[in-house]
Amino acid sequence: MWWAFLQPLILMLLFNMLRGFVNIPSDGIPYLLFSYSALVPWTFFTNSVAACGPSIITNADVIKKIALPREVFPLAAVAATLFDFAMSSILLAAMMVWFKVQIGWVLLWLPVLIVLMAATAFAVGILLAGLGTFRKDFIFATPFLTQAWLFVTPVIYPLSTVPEKWQSLYMLNPMVGVIEGFRNVLLKSSAPAWEPMASAVLVTTVLLAISWPLFRKLSAYFADVL
């Protein structure tokens, strides 16, 4: 339970230290708040993806004996991580009060952002769970994947530092829309920017449209290889 707080907190402190050596802009927001507001959704994403991957293998006992929709297991992994997300959000709220952040009606965007965030994590998670059940390499590769993913996501740095000509390509990463959306809504009291948001919804939909049917197809044979 304490890990729910600790993980993003430690990363926040590390990034803050990093900022002491390297000049990282933060759109005029206190850097602690700037990084932590991104780390809360980001930690959720990495943790739920990491939990989804082996969710089939760890539930082998049940899967081999009872026929139920296999999506339940990655879905449960995402839902359990959502609880951690809620926990670390409490600290975020406390920080927002401390830094006297103005909030308004734009907070109504939060449910939308949370659903989008969970959908993205689920889409990536079931892909890894489905493939990882047959080839464990996919599960072993997950930490490297999410680590690399961090560098192409505006967690440490703001989206504004990404060169204009690269931005449309950069926004193909659905987590860009999610994290920028959280920052806009929570810290800048403005609605999520249109472009990254639309891009995130589109990419997540496409990703789900590929990974879910693939997972369904593969799931029929889970019991055979477990």
């Binding site: 049940v62 081999k64 004996k65 009872i66 026929a67 593969l218 044979y221 019991a223 055979d224 290889v225």
Partner: protein, 419 residues
């Protein structure tokens, strides 16, 4: 398509091979590629677990599925349960299915028995209301008492099984698959479970049972099918299926053991050239008719000069019970070991062996030192076959009497065991 109302399960041309089916074209190109680069050949997709199964089960039938280990029984249940998909063919199950492939699947060790019943019900797709209404019944059936409200991790394996079985057979389902679960609990619970399955059958539920306990299968199942190497080799009444299965087991056991014996057993002390079961006329045979005398002949050579050899022959049945054991000396064989190659004959003038498969366990000793020269389990194997069922260890008719009770004599005779 017109579906007959009475059919509960319909299986048409079911083939099943484990593992992810790789499309043929992909495999072929992959093979080509690996062959071109000289790498090792890709593995075959493995053997078929089920081959061309066609089966129709009507509503309210109780079907026993028998077969040896690896015959595909559990695979068939898994396919029916929807745990795994058929490689090809159609499987249709009409009505709500409750698979009990392994009873303690899906139990959460930290939750109590009661909570686990709710969990299991939810997993199986029963509504909360349905499960709540069945809870008292399940609680009573499982006979767990106060344990019902304790965490499952404290349960014994028998209690776990009782819990799972209690849920399986107390909720309303149309088709129930039971795999090897009569071994659960003590004798009393087993009997109760069997009675409950019978009762379910009467109320119209379809039950498929896999068990190695042929007696219990015979008790609850009306019909039976036999699987062998993934094929459905026999179907009929449960008695027919069970005897077909028994014959199958005897035959294959014999083949295996015959093969082993033919490949000459030799050790430092003894060479066995051949061993066979023979009849009164001296003919070899592998199936001894029930009640008919037979003998076992062993052609052997002792590699050590033994002053006075002594032999023993034990007959062990399929369950590993030693049914008969004879020692040559006790039975009056007294020869001096002047040669080194012998033909040893053991004749059984009274064959009281019950139907079943048997192995001969042979030992050679030196009387003087009472030292065992060689002990060979399964030197011969044979089956005793007859019309009656393989029950008990010995056969032989009893004389039965049913006399009308006579009140005048009853008091003096009926009481009994007084000398």
């Amino acid at each position: 398509m017109l579906v007959s109302k009475d059919v509960a399960i319909r299986i048409q041309g079911l083939w099943k091979r484990y593992g992810l089916p790789v499309p043929d074209i992909v495999r072929r190109t992959f093979n080509l590629a690996t062959r071109a680069t000289g790498l090792k050949k890709s593995r075959d997709n493995g053997p078929w677990a089920l081959r061309d199964i066609n089966l129709e089960v009507n509503k309210g039938e109780t079907v026993a599925i028998v077969g040896r280990n690896g015959a595909g029984k559990s695979t068939l249940l898994k396919v029916l349960a929807g745990v795994t998909t058929p490689t090809s063919g159609r499987v249709e199950v009409y009505g709500r299915i409750f698979p009990m492939i392994e009873l303690n699947a899906g139990l959460n060790m930290e939750l109590t028995g009661r909570e686990n019943v709710r969990l299991l019900g939810a997993v199986m797709g029963f509504s909360r209301l349905e499960i709540e209404s069945k809870l008292p019944e399940i609680e009573e059936f499982t006979e767990l008492g106060e344990w019902f409200d304790r965490p499952v991790r404290m349960y014994s394996s028998g209690m776990l099984g009782r819990l799972g079985f209690g849920v399986a057979i107390n909720v309303d389902s149309d088709v129930i698959l039971i795999d090897e679960t009569f071994a659960v609990g003590d004798l009393k619970f087993q009997n109760k479970s069997m009675a409950r399955v019978k009762q379910m059958r009467e109320s119209g539920a379809t039950v498929l049972l896999v068990s190695h306990s042929l007696d219990s299968l015979q008790f609850v199942a009306k019909t039976g099918v036999v699987l062998e190497e993934g094929r459905l080799v026999a179907a009929g009444s449960s008695l027919e299926a069970i005897s077909a299965y028994e014959t199958l087991v005897f035959r294959s056991e014999q083949q295996r053991l015959e093969h082993r014996v033919r490949a000459r057993i030799s050790s430092e002390e003894v060479n066995i050239f051949s061993a066979r079961v023979y009849t009164k006329d001296g003919e070899s045979l592998t199936e001894v008719p029930s009640g008919v005398p037979f003998g076992i002949e062993v052609d052997l050579q002792l590699n050590r000069q033994v002053q006075k050899p002594m032999f023993s022959m034990g007959l062990v049945n399929a369950a590993g019970i030693l049914c008969k054991w004879n020692v040559s000396e006790e039975d009056g064989l007294s020869v001096l070991g002047d040669g080194d190659r012998y033909v040893l004959r053991v004749w059984y003038p009274q064959n009281h062996l019950a139907n079943g498969a048997y192995e001969g366990h042979f030992a050679a000793r030196d009387v003087a030192s009472y030292e065992t020269l060689e002990r060979i389990a399964g030197i011969v194997s044979f089956a005793v076959v007859g019309s009656q069922r393989a029950r008990g260890i010995v056969t032989g008719k009893c004389r039965w009497e049913l006399a009308p009770w006579n009140s005048a004599e009853g008091s003096s005779q009926g009481v009994g065991i007084r000398e």
